[in-house]
């Protein structure tokens, strides 16, 4: 029977896949649970209700391929979709516990029948050409629709009604099965040499990981907020799902399931492990949708297009996959989430073993010489290293300064900071004084560096206090606006941070007095405008000098002296008896070089024009304040 153009396009198949995913994800996993909660059945009754769904799903998945009655695929699909839709509308009624079990069973049975029948006979609805890409498209669209913010954030009733309506749309799509039965018998057998049972184990492990991660995120408000709450998150999740689904289809077409399952595992394992740490949440929210979509496409494509065998055989394979991997894997994952609250790293490793090792065996056999030699050399190096280590004098870094230097080396500070003041250059005034080459060579190794993306640190101990350094490591941009240095707050979880601060504090010139004299002789070479001073004050000074400055609030108890309000309070290093011009110069000196022995840092890299603007503005603020005070005191007299 010749096919029409629309039939050849395969839009029916794409729609049926998308509808099935939307129904499962948005109704069976979300709206139905919310409905149960609304009915007061969420706590003690949840497990039996959900168990009924899983039992129905597993039972029908296994039985449907073996049952001979109503064998026409379109009839079964339509029946399954009607069952799904009926379950939706029944769930909107005021259900008792027993009734909710019956509805849950109906959902499971209908979904079992729908999924197994659809994938077994999918070729009928996929038209011609690019079949795997169509599977990817259907899956991607399904996940994308679920993540559309208005749909995802709608109330349970709206979600249920939409899912039910989509089932009816699916019913219309499946009215006619355009593909001839002969087409359905075709098998491609692109699954590769991996046996079905290994694939089944792989799928089960993936669904287990997915369901556990899903349950944990869904039931932890913090995790939920960081992964799928908010419009931006949802759109990003939707796009990631869609892109990963298409990528999965492309990979399946080129390499079969041998690449997709390990990649999906990699993404899901990363997500599960990242969920263990609060700082890994953002990355987890990227990996999770990628992993899920990667394997979800394979879950449809494997039994429908990749596995070899007759249609009956592929139907049975589909039954096993959906019963064991789909329903049982899902239940086990949710159980893990409920009982442990996290996916143990050991389990992630074990899942990896199950998924990666079978596929790797052939590679290991093919490359046994390379692997044997590499392992031998790795072991030999281990032995030699131990021997040399034993022979070396134990160099325990006892002092905090020595340990801090090691931290400096290991963190790669050398890649952004130099420790070398070039004689006769502007370096001397900014970062000076100069050290002799002999002094530089005393460090093992000298940490001269070759690139300055931040200040030279050879004498930083005389320019920055321990508190400033610590505050800067914790949150650089808070202390130093526009800083692109990363936060090193993790170093303060152990002693590395304090050691590093001790090391930097130890970097001081031998002749600091002479350098101070050079600083005193410095004068502004450009005149700024006081109007520009205010934004500079807010950018550079307010963090410490304003009452609500973030650095001041955070480190209030640690300052040697709480930074004064520069407009109002008396300043130790600015003499109010001096002329305004003198005060401007005093401010400029302080801004440029800081105040030695206090927490006030210098701003050596600021231009003279900026320093002048800021000094002028500060001096003006003080003058206008003193005038106001004088007027007020005059009035009071």
């Amino acid at each position: 029977m010749p096919q029409s153009k629309t039939e050849r396009s395969g839009w029916r198949g794409v729609s049926l896949i998308a509808i099935t995913y939307v129904y499962f994800l948005i109704f069976a996993q979300f709206a139905f649970l919310k409905r149960l909660a609304a009915l007061g059945l969420a706590e003690a009754h949840l497990k039996p209700v959900m168990a009924a769904m899983a039992a129905g799903g597993m039972m029908v998945s296994l039985l449907a391929p073996r049952w001979r009655g109503f064998s026409a695929p379109e009839v079964r699909i339509r029946a399954a979709l009607l069952g799904c839709a009926a379950a939706v509308f029944l769930s909107l009624l005021p259900l008792t516990f027993a009734a909710s079990i019956a509805v849950s069973l109906l959902i499971g049975c209908s979904l079992g029948l729908l999924t197994v029948t659809l994938v077994t006979h999918l070729r009928r609805w996929l038209g011609e050409g690019s079949l795997l890409l169509k599977v990817g498209l259907g899956t991607g669209l399904g996940y994308f629709m679920c993540n559309v913010p208005t749909f995802f954030e709608a109330d349970a009733r709206a979600q249920a009604v939409a899912a039910g309506a989509l089932c009816l749309v699916g019913f219309c799509c499946a009215l006619k099965a355009p593909g001839s039965p002969a087409v359905c018998e075709e098998t491609s057998g692109q699954a590769g040499s991996t046996s079905f049972w290994l694939v089944l184990i792989g799928f089960t492990a993936l669904v287990w990981l997915d369901s556990a991660a899903f349950f944990i995120i869904q039931n932890s408000p913090g995790l939920k907020a960081g992964t799928w709450q908010g419009t931006a998150h949802l759109w990003s999740n939707g796009c990631l799902h869609f892109a990963a689904a298409l990528g999965s289809a492309w990979l399946l077409r080129r390499r079969g399931s041998t690449w997709v399952l390990p990649l999906a595992y990699g993404a899901l394992a990363a997500a599960c492990l990242l969920l263990l740490r609060a700082e890994g949440l953002v990355a987890a929210s990227v990996f999770y949708p990628i992993g899920v979509s990667l394997y979800s496409v394979a879950l449809v494509a494997y039994p429908s297009l990749l596995a070899s065998g007759s249609i009956e055989q592929r139907g049975r394979l589909a039954g096993w996959i959906y019963a064991v991997a789909g329903w049982a894997g899902s239940a086990l994952g949710i159980g893990m989430g409920q009982n442990l609250g996290a996916v143990p790293p050991l389990f992630v490793a074990a899942a990896g073993l199950l998924i990666l090792v079978p596929g790797s065996l052939a590679f290991l056999r093919r490359r046994r010489l390379e692997i044997a030699v590499t392992i031998a050399i790795l072991l030999l190096a281990f032995g030699v290293d131990k021997l040399l280590d034993g022979g070396r004098a134990v160099q325990a870094s006892d002092s905090a300064v020595e340990r801090g230097r090691t931290v400096y080396v290991h963190e790669g500070c050398i890649h952004c900071h130099s420790q070398y003041v070039r004689p006769g250059t502007r370096d001397e005034l900014m970062w000076g004084p100069v050290q002799t080459v002999a002094e530089v060579r005393r460090g093992t190794p000298p940490l001269i560096g070759n690139r300055r993306q931040g200040p030279d640190l050879s004498q930083v101990g005389s320019r920055r206090s321990a508190l400033w350094l610590k505050a800067h490591f914790e949150n650089p941009a808070e202390v130093s606006p526009a800083s692109f240095m990363p936060s090193y707050s993790s170093l303060f979880q152990d002693r590395r941070g304090d050691d590093l601060v001790a090391y930097l504090q130890s970097l001081r010139p031998t002749d600091a007095a002479q350098h101070r004299k050079d600083e005193v002789f410095w004068h502004l070479s450009a005149i700024g405008e006081s109007d520009h001073g205010q934004p500079l004050f807010h950018a550079y000074c307010a963090t410490c000098h304003e009452a609500d400055g973030p650095t001041r609030l955070r480190w209030a108890a640690s300052f040697m002296r709480l930074p004064p309000n520069l407009s109002v309070e008396a300043l130790a290093h600015v003499n109010p008896a001096d002329s305004t011009e003198e005060q401007v110069n005093q401010f400029a000196q302080i801004i440029k070089f800081g105040i030695a022995g206090t927490d006030m840092p210098g701003h050596e890299y600021l231009s003279d024009r900026d320093i002048s603007s800021l000094s002028l503005w500060l001096a003006q603020q003080r003058v206008s304040h003193s005038r106001t005070t004088n007027i007020a005191s005059g009035e009071s007299k």
């Binding site: 953002v282 080459v437 993306q453």
Partner: protein, 451 residues
């Protein structure tokens, strides 16, 4: 010396590759090299991103910019830049012939495993603090062992092939055994040079290398440039005078370098910048020297490229060392530009040229027009943009320390150029993978060896 080397029958190298496995050895080394290039370039793009979007650091936990930098730099040097020379050595010592050829792959695996271990150690916060010699702890032992493993392979190949045509003639035998003796020095040298207690001469006015050190480094590159053709192809015997001249100049400059000593001497000293200026003689000499050898037609594009980069590198390198100029550019992006000119411009095009010559007809993997021009124009643009940034930075250190619109624009352009460079390298890796998978390509390659 040139005559001695000219006697080595260069064709023997090419004739040695007589089997399918043998030809695959070079392709396999090229693949490893390209895989490291792509990975190092991905890291480079990540680093460029971090400078524009520092929030990225928060995503990566303790794997911050400072830990990724040694990964990027060392993988470029020890992965991308070194493995093509390993392929060259396989050919020269006949390690690509049966029955020893099957051990070449394990040697490459060990090398790559050492790089994986090294990268892991840098990322987990273990470094020596010496740029390009960041090997420390276990990795510091493993990498020299990987080099020793390669050496053992070459030594075995030498013994097996002693009576073969490849070792025909006293000169060939002396050169190869002498080369083996020198190669044996490299693993302990790397181990010792990674010792933090050893540090090269310091230019007291910049903290960087002295003119003598730079001359020494460039002379090492020049000797490699002079030796490469003997292992890659046959010479045109009628042009021996030019080769003799090149070797003569090299010997003279080596003596000059020895006379300069290894003290901590400033670049303001005329002896330093004038002696470094002596390298300018290689601008005409190198192309003339290479024209005295017969090259596979597939190499033309990359031969021209590497000679052009050389002619750009040598004078700019010298100019950047001059008093006043170096004082302006030291510690700035200007020197980053020059490093990229050296590594991504000159060294990379030289290595690709070598690989194309070794691969013969299979050298097509590097000859796609789009990737060729994408790579070279992006590198050139990168160099110019970074030179501009360095010039600005030399005037005002805050240019890079306090990001403003100009700095961010320059760094965004750098990022985009980095992406193009990455895509070009990925294209080569993709084709190298195809080459390894395609049995036809191997036969084509074998057919193309009759130079």
């Amino acid at each position: 010396m040139s005559q001695l080397l000219a006697e080595i029958p260069a064709s023997t190298v090419l004739q040695s590759a007589g089997s399918r496995e043998a030809h695959r050895v070079v392709a396999y080394a090229a693949w490893h090299s390209l895989a490291w290039l792509v990975f190092a370039n991905v890291v480079g793009v990540l680093l460029a991103l971090m400078l524009i979007f520092p929030a990225l650091n928060g995503w990566l936990g303790e794997w911050t910019y400072g830990r990724w930098m040694p990964v990027h730099m060392n993988l470029q040097l020890y992965g991308w830049c070194s493995l093509p020379l390993v392929a060259f050595l396989f050919k020269v010592y006949g390690a690509d012939r049966e029955p020893i050829a099957k051990w070449c792959r394990p040697a490459l695996w060990v090398w790559s495993a050492a790089l994986v271990v090294g990268s892991t150690s840098w990322l987990t916060g273990h470094a020596s603090g010496k740029l390009f010699l960041d090997w420390t702890g276990y990795a510091r032992v493993l990498f020299p062992l990987a080099l020793l493993c390669l050496w053992a392979l070459l030594a075995t190949a030498t013994m097996q092939g002693w009576r073969s045509e490849a070792f025909n003639g006293l000169a060939a035998r002396i050169t190869k055994v002498g080369g083996l003796a020198l190669l044996l020095l490299i693993p302990p040298a790397i181990y010792m040079a990674s010792n933090p207690a050893l540090y090269p001469p310091i230019n007291p006015d910049t903290g960087g290398p002295t003119g003598a050190s730079q001359l020494e480094s460039v002379l090492v590159i020049i000797v490699v440039l002079l030796l490469l053709p003997y292992g890659l192809t046959r010479s045109r015997t009628e042009q021996t005078r030019m080769r003799a001249l090149a070797w003569g100049v090299f010997v003279a400059e080596t003596l000059l370098c020895l006379a300069l000593g290894r003290g901590d001497i400033s670049h303001h000293r005329p002896t330093q910048y004038i002696s470094l200026g002596s390298l300018l003689v290689w601008l005409p000499l190198t192309p003339a020297y290479y024209s005295t050898f017969a090259w596979h037609e597939n190499t033309r594009r990359w031969r021209v490229a590497f000679l052009c980069w050389w002619c750009f590198l040598v004078p700019t390198g010298w100019c950047l060392f001059l008093p006043g100029v170096l004082d302006h550019f030291k510690f700035t992006d200007g020197l980053v530009a020059h490093s990229l000119l050296a590594m991504a411009g000159f060294v990379s095009s030289l290595l690709i040229f070598v690989m194309v010559q070794l691969l013969g007809e299979d050298g097509w993997i590097f000859n796609q027009t789009l990737s060729f021009y994408a790579w070279n124009t992006s590198v050139l643009a990168y160099v110019l943009v970074m030179l501009y940034a360095g010039w600005r930075e030399g005037n005002d250190a805050a240019f890079s320390m306090v990001p403003g619109v100009a700095r961010n624009a320059v760094y965004t352009i750098r990022l985009l150029l980095g992406v193009v460079i990455l895509l070009a390298s990925f294209d080569w890796l993709k084709d190298a993978t195809r080459l390894l998978r395609s049995p036809q390509a191997v036969t084509q390659g074998l057919a193309g060896e009759g130079i």
